[in-house]
């Protein structure tokens, strides 16, 4: 019952929004939705685990709050104070404070062969339905991890609750790779950085000696591909997260940039500039072979592959200004939504310049950056070029990247001329615009797949 109402809330938006899309207006309306009230009392714990339980509870609450789909009932309003993970709550006590869902959790520690682990158990209750809501088919869930991975336990709990209540795939237990920026504009230091999806646990992966740009995750979560100016030779690199090793991708004679993994992780799509002309190539990481995908005197760059691997969306100014095009990965001609058959079909025809296309993990939408009338927008459009919707607007919004479940888009924003870039996220509906905290200026965020 509860799940259905939130799912309706999400799909209801999809029904509501097309009214505005004909005018391609910015959907940043706020406060229309009524978020679902949920109670997440501090998880039970004893002794040394009390602080840990408090911290885990706070991360779970923050994850769910960050979706904009929930309000958290304040602890001070709670009537029942003797909750137990193994007992049914007194539903009347929670109905009276208008809570739709109740999360009951417990944290303890276990020692396995002399090694200490933390363990968190959780149950989700439907207050008005007066029944437990099964999580992944179980009456509750229990996660065990090393103490240093306590935040991941919290993210997994939040993911379980989010998925159960919305019907969407999880995404909190994931990471974001980005470029950390420091120093003056004309002598900027740019470092590769990685953090949890909520901005915690920032780690720097490169020293900042060389400018690095546009990192993207492999589907296996083990590698990042990015562009580096190491030795003043701008090339696409691979970075191995496990051992920190970096290597140049392929033996291209000229500048390579705009890399992105194929959906199976076996290849990297990239752009090579040759005598001023940029074209798209695909590099097979296993066979070490390279294949040219475009051969056009215009700029072709920023390729992104569809989830089924059959098509590629890219940026080209072959029509006179930067626009988005779709082609078949095998290079064969395709029938264009706008009519005719061609080796590439233009899908954007709005006024303005379109760039940085990224195919959604669900396959039905393409996110992009749009520049028009002195403003920048993050938007989405159907793969047939229909239903363009602008989700954001500011002085500079650039570089959308999808959350693993395709519900949320992260990007970077400069709020005003001269303001440093910061990371932001926005829901696919255009609501719930939030800044992701970072210790320094930050740009080029890209989401990892869900962690195991």
């Amino acid at each position: 019952m509860l799940k259905r109402s939130i799912a309706a809330l999400l799909t209801g938006l999809a029904v509501l929004l097309p009214a505005a899309q004909a005018q391609v207006t910015v959907n940043i309306a706020e406060g229309v939705l009524k978020p679902t009230p949920i109670a997440i009392p501090t998880f039970e714990a004893t002794g040394d685990n009390v602080q840990l339980a408090t911290d885990i509870t706070a991360v779970v609450q923050n994850d769910l709050l960050s979706t904009g789909l929930f309000t958290i009932t304040p602890q001070s309003a709670h009537i029942q104070r003797d909750l137990s993970i193994n007992a049914q709550p007194r539903f009347a006590d929670w109905k009276i404070i208008q809570t739709d869902a109740l999360v009951v959790g417990e944290v303890d520690t276990v020692t396995v062969e002399g090694v200490e682990f933390i363990r968190a158990s959780v149950r989700l209750w439907d207050v008005y339905g007066e029944e437990v809501m099964r999580l992944e088919g179980q009456a509750g869930r229990r996660f065990t991890a090393k103490p240093e991975d306590w935040r991941r336990i919290a993210h997994k709990i939040a993911d379980s609750i989010y998925s159960r209540l919305t019907g969407e795939d999880p995404y909190f237990d994931s990471r974001i790779v980005y470029i950390a920026e420091t120093g003056p504009k004309d002598a900027r230091t740019k470092r590769l950085a990685i953090m949890d999806s909520d901005g915690a646990n920032v780690k720097y992966l490169t020293s900042g000696t060389f400018t690095v740009l546009t990192p993207r995750f492999s589907p296996s979560n083990q590698q990042i591909t990015y562009m580096s100016y190491e030795n003043n030779r701008p090339r696409v690199y691979l970075f191995d997260i496990q051992n920190g090793r970096q290597e140049v991708l392929g033996n291209f004679q000229n500048m390579t940039f705009a890399p992105r993994f194929s959906r199976d992780g076996q290849s990297v799509l990239l752009t090579q500039a040759n005598s001023g002309n940029s074209d798209i190539f695909i590099r097979d990481l296993v066979t070490q072979s390279t294949r040219r995908l475009t051969d056009h005197p215009a700029i072709d760059t920023s390729p992104s592959m569809s989830p089924d691997g059959r098509q590629i969306v890219f940026n080209s100014d072959r029509g006179g200004s930067p626009q988005l095009y779709i082609m078949n990965t095998d290079g064969s001609p395709l029938t264009c939504p706008s009519g005719g058959r061609d080796t590439a079909c233009r899908i954007t025809f709005g006024s303005g310049r379109y760039s940085t296309p990224v195919w959604s993990p669900r396959g039905d939408l393409i996110a992009f950056t749009k520049q028009a009338a002195g403003k920048f927008h993050i938007g989405v459009i159907g793969i047939d070029g229909e239903g363009e919707r602008l989700l954001t607007e500011s002085y500079l919004d650039e570089g959308p990247e999808w959350s693993p479940n395709g519900r949320v888009i992260t990007f970077f924003r400069e709020t005003s001329p001269g303001a440093g870039p910061k990371l932001w996220s926005v829901d696919l509906t255009g609501r719930n615009l939030r800044q992701i905290p970072t210790p320094t200026d930050a740009s080029d965020p890209a989401w990892s797949p869900l962690l195991n």
């Binding site: 004309d186 562009m227 500048m255 752009t271 005598s275 001023g276 940029s278 920023s302």
Partner: protein, 183 residues
């Protein structure tokens, strides 16, 4: 005297840049008329000033400074464009002539873009700009083996402000001397 000429040239250069904000063009260094001598009857003076020797402060011929000051190391592009107009061609013709005079000099041509575009497209656009400059120099007889190119996209702004004047300065092809200049 030499100093006077140089400072007049610098002023011309500044005026040239200010007068044309949308597309700043460093004015070519111009010879100006010598400062007129005032002729006064010598016998009316009680203190007679001897002319002092002017120390030549101009850049040494064939130096990086000579190239930067007397030739011009940047050409500027219009918004989203990579065409060379006649002013750009003038500068590049001077660059080519200078490079012919100093055949051991090797250069790096960097293509730069303003910040009002997205990162990857700008990398491609900067590459186009660098390549156009190289091609023009080669067409004037400069050995292509002496010219490297690089695109910095919007990563290396010359002007740090966020306004039209700064963006115009940041859309450039920048010829940097790598080696072979006299010091």
């Amino acid at each position: 005297m030499r100093r006077t000429v140089m400072s007049t040239a610098s002023i011309a250069l500044l005026l040239g840049a200010a007068a044309c904000a949308s597309k700043p063009k460093p004015a070519p260094v111009q010879e100006t008329a010598p400062v007129a001598e005032t002729t006064e009857p010598a016998n009316t003076r009680t203190v007679v000033e001897e002319p002092t020797r002017v120390i030549d402060a101009g850049p040494a011929a064939g130096s990086i400074e000579d190239f930067t000051v007397n030739v011009g190391d940047r050409v500027y592009f219009d918004l989203d464009q990579y065409r060379l107009d006649s002013d750009d061609q003038d500068i590049l013709q001077r660059q080519a002539a200078w490079l012919q005079s100093y055949p051991s000099v090797r250069i790096l041509v960097a293509g730069n873009c303003d910040e009002r575009g997205t990162r990857e497209y700008n990398l491609a656009l900067g590459e186009r700009r660098a390549s156009i400059v190289k091609d023009y120099l080669v067409s004037l007889g400069v050995d292509p083996a002496r010219i490297e190119t690089v695109s910095y996209g919007k990563e290396r702004p010359l002007a740090t402000a966020s306004n039209e004047a700064a963006w115009a300065l940041n859309r450039n092809g920048f010829t940097q001397i790598l080696s072979g200049a006299t010091s």
